[in-house]
Amino acid sequence: MTDTSPGAPTAGWRRFAWLLAPLLVLAVAVAWIASVDPLRSFNNGAPPVEAIAFERVVLDSGGIKTFIRAGGSEPMTIAQVQIDNAYWTFTMDPPGPLARGSTAWLQVPYPWVLGEAHRINLVTNTGATFEHEIPVAVPTPVATQGQLTQQAIVGAIVGILPVAIGLMFYPALRGMGSLGMGFLLALTVGLLAFLLVDMTFEALELSLQSAALFQGQAMVILAALSTFLILMGIGRRSGQPEGLALAFYIAFGIGLHNFGEGLAIGAAFAAGSAGLGTFLVLGFAIHNVTEGIGIAAPMVDRRPPLWTFGALTLVAGLPAVFGMWLGSLAYGPQWSALALGIGAGAILQVIVEVTSYFLRRAEREGQSWLSAPVLSGFLIGLAFMYVTAAVIKI
């Protein structure tokens, strides 16, 4: 720094000029390509590429409404709308051609039938068709107070209740020997590993339903990596997180996962594909009890104040309620995928932190990380999650 500082002003100008040069060339290139159109010779008369993503479908007393996003190489025009192989009147808001990435609502006054399947088919001005299936038609939930309360109750049952129950194991877990502690932490890593795998695939699957321009799969992976790095950075500002701090990070990661689960249940509601019985809800609850144990694990040799248990329960469980609400309103799949990607990143961070905490302990106490209790803890965590998940996969 010191040897360049005398010439700093000139260097700054020069740097600016060098920065400007490539940008200028880019601007000239863009202007040239746009005006001369050197790609014209590739124009073989083929029709433009057309793509449409259906992001939301709303069924109500006015008929069928759908929110679409265009992804064509040129602006696209919706010429006609078929429902169940019948042309139907429709209105479009905003009307007119849809530029790449732009969206519109289509409202079709079609008398859909409760509990039955329907097919939307859009015909563009080139005669291309884009189809979307409504597997089971049910009225799209609207955000009324009664509706929100009912969903909040389901969200609390699948999110808050099991975490609270898991945390209630805390007194029993206290005073365990170092072997028991190793088992417990390994169990936590096992269940987190299951959540990471589950969430990542869920996110990738959802992302495939979104418009191509969102590059869903890349978006999921990049969101996960960014979240992981940001949380690692925050977590390590004052040393490696342990005890209560680590418990909160775990609760946060699990909270994002439960948000994703809430989205899935809510979306299933909206799609009409969920016969959401008691069995399913109980399945979610049991599946998630281990999450409470996982959160408690790094605190068992500390003495946290009582309020922290309440706070941890809410951080980990409450997002399920928000997920239910959002998911049932049937927002675009790319946003759900993004939320799940962020959740996967958060889970990865706690896996790294719990593992690192466990390794430090093991080293301090001269344990092997490949001991029988540790390995069995990890595998039992995985297996428990896998088996209980069999119940809740729709």
């Binding site: 109500d60 007393s61 139907w88 006054p109 015909v123 080139t126 009225p139 009664g146 509601f269």
Partner: protein
Amino acid sequence: MTTQHETEKVSRRSLIAGIAAAGGTAAFAGVAAAQSMPGHDMAAMQDDAPSAVNPYSAPSIHEGGHGQMITVGRVDAAANGFDPTAMLTDWDFGTVSLMEDGRVLRTFEVEAIDKDIEIAPGVTFPAWTFNGRVPGPALRAKEGERLRIVFRNYGSHPHSMHFHGIHSWRMDGVPGAGLINPGEEFIYEFDARPFGCHLYHCHALPLKRHMHKGMYGAFVIDPDPELHPEFADAARSRLYGTPENARWQELVMVMNAFDTNFDNANEFYAVNTVAHAFAQQPIRIEKSRPVRIYLVNVTEFDPINSFHLHANFFDYFDTGTTLTPTLRTVDLIMQCQAQRGILEFSYAEHEAGPYMFHAHQAEFTELGWMGMFDVVEA
């Protein structure tokens, strides 16, 4: 209405219970209740419907028999260069001259042209046409005349005119017999026989593609009354230009369809190309005059098409090659691909008003093949 709705609510609940039972236990009743829309019953819908149209109420007479089940907008007939309504009565009689032996020589000129046409409001189809229109010109001649069809191919692919009629193999319009390359010309020549309601179409390969791209048209040969003395009256009523024929309202209808996304299934069905054309603009019929329809089916991909007349019955002459009906007093006929015939009926005894007609394959109807006769006092 209400009763019907109660049933629906019940069935939805039982559906949830059913799925839950499959999972091994009873329904989560609270959730099910939360999901059933408050007042998903048709009476209540009228009040809270966000749009002007209530999808659950019966359409009024002002909605033209189709209610909301119709394509949106109108086709620009001027830009297309042809109008489905005008085509109903637009016959091509060619030019007439006398040959040395005193027989009539009738000459038609037909050109194959590639043309983008609007087949439904806002939907463009890259058609192959005869004379720039789909269906091609409705050629009409008299039994026994010598026909000469000068065919020029200005399209981008080989094409032909294959006539359903009686002629030499050399005039058949198949490969090696009048199937010509772009830029070439061929003259088909044969006698007009047998009388009836026929068609012509391109017979280039692949046939399906050349057909559904739009290369077909009606080909009607009127009977010569002198050759059929036992049915001279019937023959005269069919022969264009006679006073007996003039009292008839004659319409030519070509039932066609378009596969706009090229998946070997049709997106649009119609008569004379434009989906819902006669639903949007009913065909005016004077009730005192009898109606004769020359009906041709050129629909590709679907093996049969049909014609159903509402509130009335008709006599049918399959292929039009007889002067007595082949079917009497029916309200529905079906035609396989390239089958055709003549329908005769009357509204003389009817109350004036809108009368519907359509294919009775509901799918075709709902995808554009339906129309209305506007029967008026006259």
